[in-house]
């Protein structure tokens, strides 16, 4: 399907999909075939459109690595009864995450799934999958 055709096919999809925003094409920046699994501390939550951003500090030996994970927009989570408070409650605590790695090799990823400290599994799929 051409890009144009795909875009033109949007009506049913738009209306079925609900509200969602993205300010760039996911596959342009992230490689869906290159996944990374992270375990670390959630240090920041930016809960805004067009997509949320989660910062996770991981350890590689003694060195701390800071990862930026891009999620869907707040409305995506709202429709699934997941709220900002779920993430804010995890600040400073251990989380695990699976993400598609940024194509530029930076410590950035497109969030697929995050497990919060209380065991709650937050999936960013199918949007980010």
């Amino acid at each position: 399907m051409s890009h144009r055709t795909a875009v033109c096919l949007a009506l049913a999809a738009m209306l079925l999909a609900g509200s969602a925003w993205a300010h760039h094409n996911m596959s342009a920046l992230f490689d869906f075939n290159d996944r990374v699994n992270l375990s670390g501390t959630l240090t920041k939550v930016d809960w805004r459109n067009p997509h949320i951003e989660l910062i996770v500090d991981t350890k590689s030996g003694e060195q701390v690595q800071t990862w930026s994970l891009e999620g869907p927009p707040p409305s995506f989570f709202r429709a699934r009864d997941i709220n900002k408070s779920d993430f804010e409650g995890a600040l400073g605590k251990s989380v695990t995450a699976e993400a598609s790695r940024a194509r530029d090799g930076s410590r950035a990823g497109l969030l697929r799934v995050m497990t919060l400290p209380d065991g709650k599994i937050v999936s960013a799929c199918p949007q980010n999958c």
Binding site: C8, W21, R35, P126
Partner: protein
């Protein structure tokens, strides 16, 4: 592009081929309401605008029968014997897509998959003997290929779990391979999935390049593959040798051969004897050409038109399937798509009709009231371009005439230029061109790769443009800056959605849509705008302009004298509101001017379709 949206786009290839909502990001009001009555109304609107009739034709285009009743059908695939059709059916209310098999004679169906909300199946293909159907399903966040008996009996078999989106296209005549593709802005890849053995199979990467690829159908003798690629700048059908043991990025010793001549939408399937090949051309024509795979080279004749779907109900490649003998064609035929540019007065009376019916969407009236700018899909080329029409004479002028789709047109404040959005080399950008179609287009601003953006306004002093992505952004148009140096400013970025920024005539305010108060309903708000401090709204609270329970769909417009505003409700009501802006902004009680028979296609959160004096309203009305 987002979640289920992205998936459904892949799966419902037939659902809305010429429903030209090519406006990138999604209006927040598209979310299905939770209130049962409101939800039922929206679901019915979606159904009425999109439900398709499965129709069987002979190869001359003569309708033979209708299969069942209208429904949300997409991606039909006729069985090898032509007696059944596999099809994806969307359940709007449940937000699912599932695979069904319908009996062509009776229309009775069986459901082969049962998806969870926001999941579904896509791209069904039949086994050569018709005993099984392979398909892709999204489950638990993963796209996987499965197969199941076409009778619906037994359990499904997982064939391959994919890391990303894939689309199945064919099951080889010898039964040994499924073919599928994966394509995005970084290029496309074809795969063959061997079906020997058991358990999860490992796909073979057959061919990959930097262009977008679709299709991949193997010739019956397994020596060649047909596919669609945009490597020439537009989609065309190609054939190349099929060699699953060769490296995917190595050019074949012979070929590829381009076999379409005037663009192609897709399909590119072989007759079972390998002597004819079919595809859907850019103008919706079902094409056939004689081919030969018996010599070392691939030989082919000039394509000939079999038939073309009507202008009023155009059908594309994803909505078409042909039997292996080339004698029967099934199409999922949409509701009539032609629209007439129509001017209404404040009482809802039709004042005039502009030009001829066409595939129009997003009409915008020029500030001087003399012209309308609109997105138009050409029925011959399939190109989506920007046109202007003289309201008095109906004479049309092409502003763009190219393959890349353009969208979201707006007028300059002096009515002399038109600005629009187009994506070139993965970058969405804002371009401007003279409204009489002369001269070259000029890039004004380039956004991040692959991003969607909806351009909604140009400030009265021409110093800013505004667009939205869920965030409301401003583009300062400083004359001393090159287009690539310009940066967008996030004027309003919150956890709620904002859309459709509209400058007041004096440039002191911005009106916009927001679901700040209730995430299910957008309302119209106004906040101060200070051109010297464009990083955020000026001081003071947002003033709510629309007040109806079901919210606003868009069409925000300021009358030139700044004393009245307009917007459209989700019930297609055109509303007017008395306003004052000095010393502070205040809005009166909205009053109904008239109500349109909805739903109308397009994105009201971009419409600027009112004359400056507030006396006339332009809509692209469906032609019955």
């Amino acid at each position: 592009m987002n979640d289920f949206y992205r998936f459904v786009i892949m799966t419902t290839a037939a659902l809305a081929v010429v429903v030209v909502l090519a406006l990138a990001p999604l209006p927040a009001q598209a979310q299905l309401p939770t209130d049962p009555a409101e939800r039922a109304k929206v679901v019915d609107q979606i159904f009425q605008a999109n439900a398709r009739q499965l129709t069987l034709f002979d190869r001359q285009g003569k309708p033979l029968s209708q299969i069942g009743t209208r429904d949300m059908y997409g991606a039909p695939a006729l069985s090898p014997d032509g007696k059944r059709v596999a099809v994806i059916k969307a359940d709007i209310d449940k937000e699912t897509n599932d695979l069904w098999v319908l009996d062509v004679a009776t229309g009775k169906g069986i459901k082969l998959t049962s998806s969870q909300a926001r999941e579904g199946a896509n791209s069904p293909v039949w086994s050569p003997d018709g005993s099984h159907i392979a398909y892709v399903a999204l489950r638990g966040g993963n796209f996987s290929a499965y197969r199941k008996a076409s009778t619906g009996e037994g359990s499904e078999e997982l064939l391959y779990r994919s890391p990303g989106i894939l689309t199945l296209t064919d099951w080889s005549v010898d039964g040994r391979f499924l073919s599928f593709f994966s394509t995005d802005l970084n290029g496309g890849t074809f795969y063959a999935l061997p079906l020997d053995g058991t358990g999860e199979r490992k796909p073979i990467e057959v061919f990959r390049n930097k262009f977008q690829l679709q299709g991949a159908h193997l010739s019956p003798d397994g020596r060649f593959m047909s596919y669609v690629s945009n490597e020439s700048g537009r989609n065309e059908v190609y054939v190349r040798p099929f060699n699953p043991t060769a490296a995917a990025n190595v050019a074949p010793a012979k070929g590829p051969w381009q076999i379409s001549e005037q663009g192609a939408q897709g399909m590119a399937v072989w007759r079972k004897d390998g002597k004819e090949l079919y595809y859907i051309a850019a103008d919706r024509g079902l094409m056939a050409l004689t081919v030969s795979t018996s010599s070392p080279d691939f030989d082919f004749a000039k394509p000939k038109l079999l038939f073309r779907s009507p202008d009023a109900t155009p059908v594309g490649a994803g909505a078409t399937s042909i039997t292996p003998d080339g004698e029967r064609v099934v199409m999922s035929v949409p509701p009539p798509q032609l629209r007439q540019l129509t001017m209404f007065d404040r009482q809802g009376n039709v004042v005039s009709k502009i030009g001829q019916p066409g595939l129009y969407v997003q009409p915008g009236v020029s500030p001087d009231g003399k012209s309308v700018v609109v997105m138009r899909t050409d029925l011959q080329t399939g190109n989506l371009d920007i046109w202007t029409y003289d309201i008095a004479t109906g004479k049309g002028t092409a502003i763009t005439n190219d393959v890349p789709p353009e969208n979201a047109p707006i007028w300059s404040p002096d009515s002399k230029q038109v600005a629009y959005v187009s994506t070139r080399q993965s970058y969405a950008g804002i371009y401007q061109k003279s409204a009489d179609g002369t001269g070259d287009e000029e890039l004004l601003f380039r956004y991040t790769p692959g991003a969607g953006m909806v351009l909604t306004d140009w400030s009265p002093d021409r110093k800013f443009m505004t667009f939205y992505t869920g965030v409301l952004l401003l583009v300062p148009l400083r004359a001393d800056q090159q287009a690539l140096d310009r940066k967008a400013i996030e004027w309003l970025r919150e956890d709620y959605d904002v859309a459709q920024g509209r400058f007041s005539p004096d440039g002191r305010f911005l009106a916009f849509l927001s679901n700040e108060a209730d995430h299910e309903h957008m309302q119209v708000y106004v906040r101060p705008f200070d051109a010297s401090k464009p990083e955020a709204p000026g001081p003071g609270p947002a003033v709510q302009v629309s007040k109806n329970k079901e919210g606003a769909a868009g069409m925000i417009f300021w009358r030139r004298d700044g004393k009245e505003m307009y917007f459209m409700t989700r019930d297609w009501e055109v509303m007017a509101v008395d306003i004052t802006s000095s010393p502070t902004f205040q809005a009166g009680t909205p009053k109904l001017l008239f109500k349109l028979p909805g739903p109308l296609v397009g994105n009201p959160a971009q419409w600027k379709n009112v004359t400056s004096d507030g006396e006339r309203f332009m809509f692209a009305m469906p032609v019955k």
